[in-house]
Amino acid sequence: MRSLFDFHGGVKPDYHKEASAQQPIAVAPAPTFLVVPLHQSIGGMPRPLVAAGEQVRKGQRIGAADGNLSAAVHAPVSGTVTAVEMRRMPHPSGLFALCVVIENDGREVWIERQPFDIHAHSAEQTRAYLRDAGIVGLGGAVFPSHLKLAPGKAGKLDALVINGAECEPFITCDDMLMRERAAGIVRGIQIMRELLLPTRVLIGIEDNKPQAIAAMQAACAGLSGIEVIAVPTRYPAGGAKQLIRALTGIEVPHGKRSTDYGVQCFNVGTAHAIHAAIDLGQPLISRIITVAGNVESPRNYDVLIGTPMREVLALAQPLPDTDRLIMGGPMMGVAMPGDEVPVVKATNCILAGSKNLFPPPPPEMPCIRCGDCAKVCPADLQPFELYWYARARIFGKTQEYHLFDCIECGCCAYVCPSHIPLVDYYRFAKSEIWARETEKEAADRAREHHEFRQQREERDKQEKSARLAAKTAAGRERAAAALASVTQTEAAPSPATEARKALIAAALERTRAQQVTPANTTDLAPEQQAEIAAIEARRAEIREQARPHLPPDN
């Protein structure tokens, strides 16, 4: 038995995990229409590769990764693309984003699936393959996995941590995955090992999942360097930094990443997805989802990405008083804007809520600075200070108090005797800071463009005046030459006036050369000529009459 370390804080909420872990994982039936959002991972928005009316096969790439910080998206079924349009996203904003809508033809025609031989390819090619297979972190952060499968700055990885802790109440998807598909997970871990070459592999599982621990131990039997470790059940033991602390004793400082300390962390679901992509040639088109909460029969389902949440929920028979849907668990989950939103790669749980199950919180009271939140904060922050500054919109101070190390686990709000929705304040402050940073970047870009434009205008002006000066100089030279020829014939009274006269003469010569005779004064008929002569005569007469009234000309 190895010695474990302890992370700071944490809470022990009611787990409610038994209900959904009674039955094995069931495959959810494929719906008639699937709505696959293109943007399902952190990073760039994938470009759509299909258009309405096109036929797609199951597993076909429909969204190509945009740059390296992005992951591809695939068709979960075979069928026809009916639209590539804006649909409501499973996001608390309820806003719309570009989705590919596929009508299922029910024939399950797969693309050609071929195992990927990682030994025949370079590590770079393997990572590109995983990006194009749409592999992202399935623990909830949906960070593209291929980026984490590269050796970090340290160059050497000490520990590969596999996260099977699953600390959030109600959720059992990783638990069931480990019980039923342990071999696949271990195979995925082996692939990661080949890419990362870690000294040791630590699989951390909370000790309230004895069956999962047993299954994983059986799957790892005979393999050296892999250890399955039971960690004490305490929320949030499944947070990456918390699990790393518990297993290795490494405390990742504020604002740093675990890779800087030679530790990389993956979810068990991600390990299984990597196994499916490499060994079976299947891209990430489905995932295990726990359907729990206010339902008749909570259970885990293997659901295709893009299935409307309503249809998944219906399988578990929601109770009539269900009034909301939460994606994720009760601690960190977010309320969904409706039940028609699709399942995405980040959906680990669909939690049905009701007034009885999750009663509305009591009214918010003033903070009494009791410090309970700081005692439970697993990130070693001071939540009451963060709350104070976020509430007062003093965002600079929140950053000084390491707001961005907050993992939004909700422990502080859980213990707050004043029922302050602390995490809401942190989320508010974080998104305000992000918005300001984007604005600042845009302003800096605008400044650069403006300065460049001013420089260009200045340069144009200088070039123009230089051109003009050169032209005048040339004119003067010509005039001087003309003057020289004049002085040769007769003596000039004053060279200066002569030079000016010559300049004027040259200018007149230029204008004369530019003058064009109007086209309607040539080739005239005799009668037109006569008419013109008559008009000219009349004009002369009028001029003669007007002469006394005109100023005298010399």
Partner: protein, 187 residues
Amino acid sequence: MLTAVLVMALGALVLGAALGYAAVRFRVEGDPLVEKIDAILPQTQCGQCGFPGCKPYAQAIAKGEADINQCPPGGEEGIRKLADLLGREVKPLSAEHGVEKAKSLAVIDENLCIGCTLCIQACPVDAIVGAAKQMHTIIAAQCTGCELCVPPCPVNCIDMQPIAETVETWKWKYPVVDIRPATARAA
């Protein structure tokens, strides 16, 4: 006595040389206060403040020739930041310079554009692409929403459109305490 004078003189020379060198070597180019003010301004380059761009306005503020409440795109927050920096009182936005508006984006109706290039000449940040007698278009990512391209357009084909919120730009709202009316409790 002489030694003491010499030592002091030598010390003065050495220190003087060091200070002189530092003054040349670490010379600050330009006015750092103008840079700081310019960093707060939104760089819209719209000229609503009465100066031809953000930098001239920053210079005017630094010299004390302009007030801090003349920038409508910067809004109330910009005024507050300037007040913090300069140690002045926060004041409301001066009405004669305009009102704070949601950020918008210029959009050219490409069916109407006649390719006159007048808007290209007006754009302070080179965000419009086009050539004479060719259709013009706006590079959305570079547009600051200054509206300077709108008045020169002879066919009124430029429209300012508010920027729509997307899932990526959406912000969590300030938590609001739900105040229930007293009648609800009585009922």
